[in-house]
């Protein structure tokens, strides 16, 4: 490496003082005012929505409904996590919903008609997702058809493909214990607590280790108070969630006991950790952001832009496959509507509400989970309020538009503030 030694003149570079928590908060406030709101709208929306529903319908706050929120929102959240990758590279995937349907149908067919073991079927479903992703990504990145058109075409085609797979509209029911358990069974309460403890310990450990390493190398590190605040928040929120989920929620506890963290929760957490690691700790993740931020700069830096785009589509479609498996598990069946109707819009909504930009280059996997929570709360709360499908669609449509509007305005604000 060629290090250019100091030029004559004042050689004072970036300030090296460790920022206090007050400074971190102020920097965050500045970013928000400048238009970079991140997950703030989703968090605020979640608080407002939960308060409104809790006041209007006390049933919203029961343990059973809380657990329902997770199983209801899981499939959409997982699909949204995959969509984040496609949105990050500045593309869109309108076919993710029906891609999840196709993969679920593959799962159902291999499981029932072919009678293969569950893990082979899950693998088949995910491989289907990968093939879909390679095809879509290839058409977008190599052939150069706009992703909007490619995935709109796929949206229609996959609808037909699901019909073919489930033989013109029959309903394939799934009886495999493992597959059904994914979205309907819970962890034993002790395992929920153990998982919680491991998560907190690992999170705190990583944060402390990183701060220590940076301090010893003389680099700016997060202050202890900020780390403590983050870990504290995780302990409070996670602990509360595990506690509530471990409460008895069976209507008739003497007959059947119903307690514990739904199995989808650790699945989503594992996916969150995996994809967050990929996005923020690997060169591949860095290149995803670069391609979304400035494709020409990425190209000049020698990044294979088209291959990165294909990879984003592959991740999106294979996550759609996982979402399809969860949906099939929850319904214990697959029919032509699996992954259809509002699934895609809810998933795009979840990603965008969480703070992922439709313009590319900005977003996190965690955003999809926050946005997915908003979507799940709306659907669940509206159901409790007794509103029909019509109102649900109207409200969710408006929320999606609102989120996209916030994104667009944030972008404008940022350019006005000189941040873009």
């Amino acid at each position: 490496m060629n290090k250019v030694k100091e030029l004559p003149g004042d050689a004072i570079a970036a300030a090296k003082t460790s920022p206090s928590i007050g400074l971190s908060v102020r920097a965050y406030a500045e970013r928000v005012r400048g238009g970079d709101m991140g997950a703030l709208p989703a968090v605020l929306g979640l608080i407002v929505l939960c308060t409104v529903f809790a006041v209007a319908r006390p049933a919203f706050l029961t343990a059973i409904n809380f657990a329902n929120l997770f199983t209801q929102g899981a499939a959409i959240t997982v699909i949204a996590m995959g969509l984040v990758f496609v949105l990050l590279v500045g593309e869109i995937d309108l076919s993710a919903g029906f891609a999840s349907g196709v993969c679920a149908a593959v799962l159902a067919v291999t499981l029932t008609s072919l009678g293969l073991p569950w893990y082979v079927c899950v693998l088949a479903a995910i491989v289907t997702g990968v093939v879909i992703g390679v095809t879509l990504g290839g058409l977008v990145a190599k052939v150069g058809i706009p992703s909007f058109v490619v995935t709109l075409a796929a949206f229609l085609a996959f609808q037909g493909l699901v019909l073919v797979l489930v033989r013109e509209g029959t309903n394939i029911s799934i009886r495999d214990d493992v597959i059904v358990a994914i979205a309907t069974r819970n962890l034993p309460p002790w395992l929920g607590w153990a998982l919680f403890a491991v998560c907190v310990a690992v999170y705190a450990g990583i944060q402390l280790l990183r701060a220590r390493k940076r301090t010893t190398r003389g680099l700016v590190a997060d202050p202890m108070s900020l780390i403590a605040a983050r870990v504290g928040a995780l302990v409070v929120i996670g602990g509360l969630a595990v506690y509530v989920l471990n409460l008895e929620r069976s209507r008739n506890p003497l007959l059947t006991s119903l307690t514990g963290v739904p199995i989808v929760v650790p699945i989503i957490l594992a996916l969150l950790v995996l994809w967050t690691f990929v996005l923020h700790r690997t060169a591949f993740g860095r290149h995803i952001y670069a391609v979304g931020g400035n494709p020409e700069a990425a190209r000049r830096a020698g990044i294979p832009v088209d291959r990165i785009k294909v990879a984003a589509f592959v991740i999106c479609s294979s996550m759609a496959a996982v979402g399809g498996i969860i949906a099939a598990s929850r319904a214990s069946s697959v029919d032509p509507n699996t992954g259809g109707s509002s699934v895609l819009l809810y998933a795009v909504g979840a990603a965008v509400i969480g703070g992922t930009s439709l313009f590319g280059g900005k977003g996190r996997v965690l955003d999809a989970i926050l946005g997915g929570a908003v979507v799940a709360v709306i659907e669940n709360g509206m159901g409790l309020m007794g509103y029909g499908a019509s109102v649900k669609y109207l409200v969710t449509g408006s929320v999606l538009l609102l989120a996209a509007g916030v994104d667009a305005i944030a972008r404008k604000r940022a350019s006005a503030a000189g941040l873009r």
Binding site: N2, K3, I12, A14, Y289, N294, R299, R300
Partner: protein, 250 residues
């Protein structure tokens, strides 16, 4: 002495428009070669051809006397050619360190080695006397034009390169910063690198360059030693392609 970087007979068209006509150009190790020409003369296009951004229609590129094929930016970087583009080509959504190492991130296993990259970026920026940047973890979108230009230059000198090409690197810089960049240009050449400087500022060109190459409407008008020509002659070469017995002969 064989030039470190030499191009011969470069033709380049964009559709029906031929932008470069049979261009020859060379840069010697240890020298600053100024590339001058009017707006639209083809300077940036020539640089992008050398950098592998545009494929050339015909002609050849020689590195250290040997013909090479540059099919993409990675090939150019592998040869040791670093380019600061006129439009900078930075990712707004990434921070300074991330931009400086883009495409060549340092890793440990599969993980990025953030600390090492940050240290090295800090060192390079300190060397360039960047005083106004609050933090090198700042997003590039929040930098001023001059700060962005400095980041782009820092990105190019970070690597152990043999040829550094700067396309109007001082266009957005203030007086002090410009002086510093010119000093850096001189120092890189003194260290044995071949430096190519594109500039419209004749004072800068005469201050640091050893040789001057003038492009006129996509043709190389002349490549001369700076000591052998006057200000006025270079201006004439730029504006009319010829000056006395120098330049394009019809």
């Amino acid at each position: 002495m064989t030039p470190l970087l030499e191009v011969r007979g470069i033709d380049k068209s964009f559709g029906p428009v031929q932008v470069l006509h049979d261009v020859a150009f060379s840069a010697n190790a240890g020298e600053v070669t100024a590339l001058v020409g009017d707006n639209g003369a083809g300077k940036s296009t020539l640089v992008k051809c050398i950098g592998g951004i545009y494929p050339i229609d015909s002609g050849e590129i020689l590195f250290d006397g040997k013909p090479v094929h540059v099919h993409g930016p990675r090939d150019a970087a592998a040869l040791g050619i670093e380019i600061v583009y006129q439009d900078l080509a930075l990712c707004d959504n990434l921070d300074i360190v991330q931009n400086m190492f883009l495409g060549r991130e340092r890793r440990r296993g599969i993980m990025l080695d953030e600390a090492a990259m940050e240290e090295q970026a800090q060192e390079t920026l300190t060397g360039l006397s960047v005083r106004t940047v609050k933090s090198i973890r700042q997003q590039v979108s929040s930098l001023s034009g001059g700060q962005r230009q400095t980041v782009a230059i820092a990105k190019a000198v970070l690597w152990n390169s043999k040829v550094v090409i700067l396309d109007e690197p001082t266009a957005a810089l203030g007086v002090a910063q410009t002086a510093q960049v010119l000093e850096l240009v001189r120092r890189l050449a003194d260290k044995g690198l071949a430096v190519v400087l594109i500039s419209h500022n004749m004072n800068d060109v005469f201050a640091v360059s050893d040789r001057i190459a003038a492009l006129y409407l996509g043709r190389m008008a002349a490549q001369v030693r700076t000591a052998d020509v006057t200000h006025a002659q270079v201006v004439e070469l730029i504006t009319s392609g010829r000056s006395g017995d120098l330049g394009i002969t019809q």
